[in-house]
Amino acid sequence: MTHWLKRFYFLLIGLFLSLPLIVVAGVSVNAKQTLAFPPQGFSLSWYGEIFTNPEWRAALVASVILATTSAALAVLIALPLSWFLWRRIAPWANIFQVLGIAPFTLPPVITALGLLTFWATTGFYGQPWTAVIGHAIFFVTLPLVTLSLGFSAIDRSFVEAAATMGANDRTIFRTVVLPLILPYLVSGYAFAFVLSLNEYIVAYMTVGFTLETLPIKIFNALRYGYTPTMASVTILFVFTAAVIFSLVAKFGDLPKLLGAMASDES
């Protein structure tokens, strides 16, 4: 009996989590420009629309560029910081770890509003690159947490062996440390990339009136006119996230990564 109860509970939660996406997937294959479910007719043209309609394509390109560059910048901030904290004894430097985790822990509106006032005061409000910095700061938490985890997993005797053989910091970093933390670096980048792709409020408050990312475009479409393209973009997003996280799971230890991540955050 309890066995069936278990199955039923998994089914229930699975259904709750997937139902909205199933309906959206249904809507995305409508033949005509209606948001009907079950879909009327079948057509994949709304997926084509993402790439052929100049407005949606521009939003897609903007989102992908923003996510690629901001995730890279987040990793560039997180890597030297977590390396320093691992290599040196400097307790006061932990304050920067806290600063890196704070933007992600606070309600997103706070970081967004802070950046809005900052860019408005300095006169750069609306420049596309301000969103890159905004996202990098907002999501630096993710590579920071995965990298600290990666560094703490390094066996220090490897490093000592290399040092005894006469390797300097630079050589040790390149030949010993980097290969060992590479999986954590990649997963940190992947998490930041996916979340940046989906982020709305920081992008909206910093560049909302000059640049349309996909989430901003979807929100505007939600307000000023529905189209099934919104549905096809949504499915594309879920698919991308699932593929990226599956790759992280395939090449890394996902349960371990999540186990340590959540405990670090709390």
Partner: protein, 284 residues
């Protein structure tokens, strides 16, 4: 090579770039926001430097009190719903084979990374008259004709639980995975049914984790800024929605900043409480 304190300025080298970025683009904006919250608003969307408390005084109105009360109530309800749903689920998840666990985790992460815009759109479609659940109910004869189930409080709550549930599961997951499995086995050997063992052994053992998770989900739910807007009516707007609205559409930056500072204080207070509970848990 041992860990050692930095010897020279050059040893601090790696810290310069990350520290600079975080100071310039997080600490300074944060400070700017606090400063602006004391500024005087001018007609037409501008503000002038000043040191006034009028933006904070607006908190004392009945309207603001109502919004604050509603935000807190909504976030508490979301946190409780999520933990109640997630606790048995996460426990069952931790008993699955590793392969199945990874599949669920990938799915949970994918839903968690969804933008609020997308969650709002998906639920507004699911609850709509043309494409929604009510069509299904009509098909099986439970309903005469399709109806729109949003905007409503139920829709806001459902959307926010949907958004926060994967987060709740992933916060609970490490604590439950690390839980000593012999605990439940002992309860079972002594003749307790699985459900009784769950409530009499597992829940008390995880008391501190549950409290900390409730607070974390509460903070997470406080940050929701779009779902109340998309799925609710204006009376369902939360503090986060109001901040966005004041900053973007009413162009009242000082008031928006004052509300944001207030929200930070509430959040920090709760984070401190979480840490306190965590520390108590370690001692016990």
């Amino acid at each position: 090579m041992k860990r050692e304190p930095p010897q020279s300025i050059a040893d601090y080298g790696p810290l310069f770039f990350p520290a600079g970025m975080l100071l310039i683009f997080f600490v300074v904006p944060f400070g700017t926001m606090i400063a602006v919250s004391f500024f005087q608003r001018q007609e037409g969307g501008f503000y002038t430097p000043a040191f006034v408390f009028s933006n904070y005084e607006r908190f004392l109105t009945a309207f603001f009190g109502g919004v604050l009360g509603f935000s807190l109530m909504l976030a508490v309800t979301v946190a409780i719903c999520c933990v109640v749903l997630a606790l048995p689920f996460t426990y069952l998840l931790s008993r699955l084979t590793r392969r199945l666990q990874v599949i669920w985790l990938v799915g949970l992460l994918s839903v968690l990374s969804l933008s609020e815009v997308i969650i709002g759109f998906a639920w507004s479609t699911l609850l709509s008259r043309t494409a929604g659940l009510s069509n299904l109910l009509v098909k099986i004869g439970l309903l005469e004709q399709p109806v729109a189930l949003f905007p409503s409080f139920g829709a806001v709550l459902t959307g926010m639980v949907y958004q926060a549930l994967p987060y709740t599961i992933l916060v609970l997951y490490p604590a439950i995975v690390r839980l000593d499995p012999t605990l439940m086995e002992a309860a079972r050997t002594l003749g307790s049914s699985p459900i009784r063992a769950f409530f009499n052994v597992l829940v008390p053992a995880l008391r501190n984790t549950i409290m900390a998770t409730l607070i974390m989900v509460f903070i997470f739910a406080l940050g929701s800024y779009l779902l109340p807007q998309i799925l609710g009516r204006p009376q369902h707007w939360t503090l986060s929605v109001l901040i966005t609205d004041q900053a973007i559409y009413q162009s009242n930056m000082p008031f928006a900043a004052a509300m944001a500072v207030f929200l930070v204080l509430v959040t920090l207070g709760l984070v401190a409480l979480t840490l306190l509970i965590g520390r108590k848990g370690e001692k016990a």
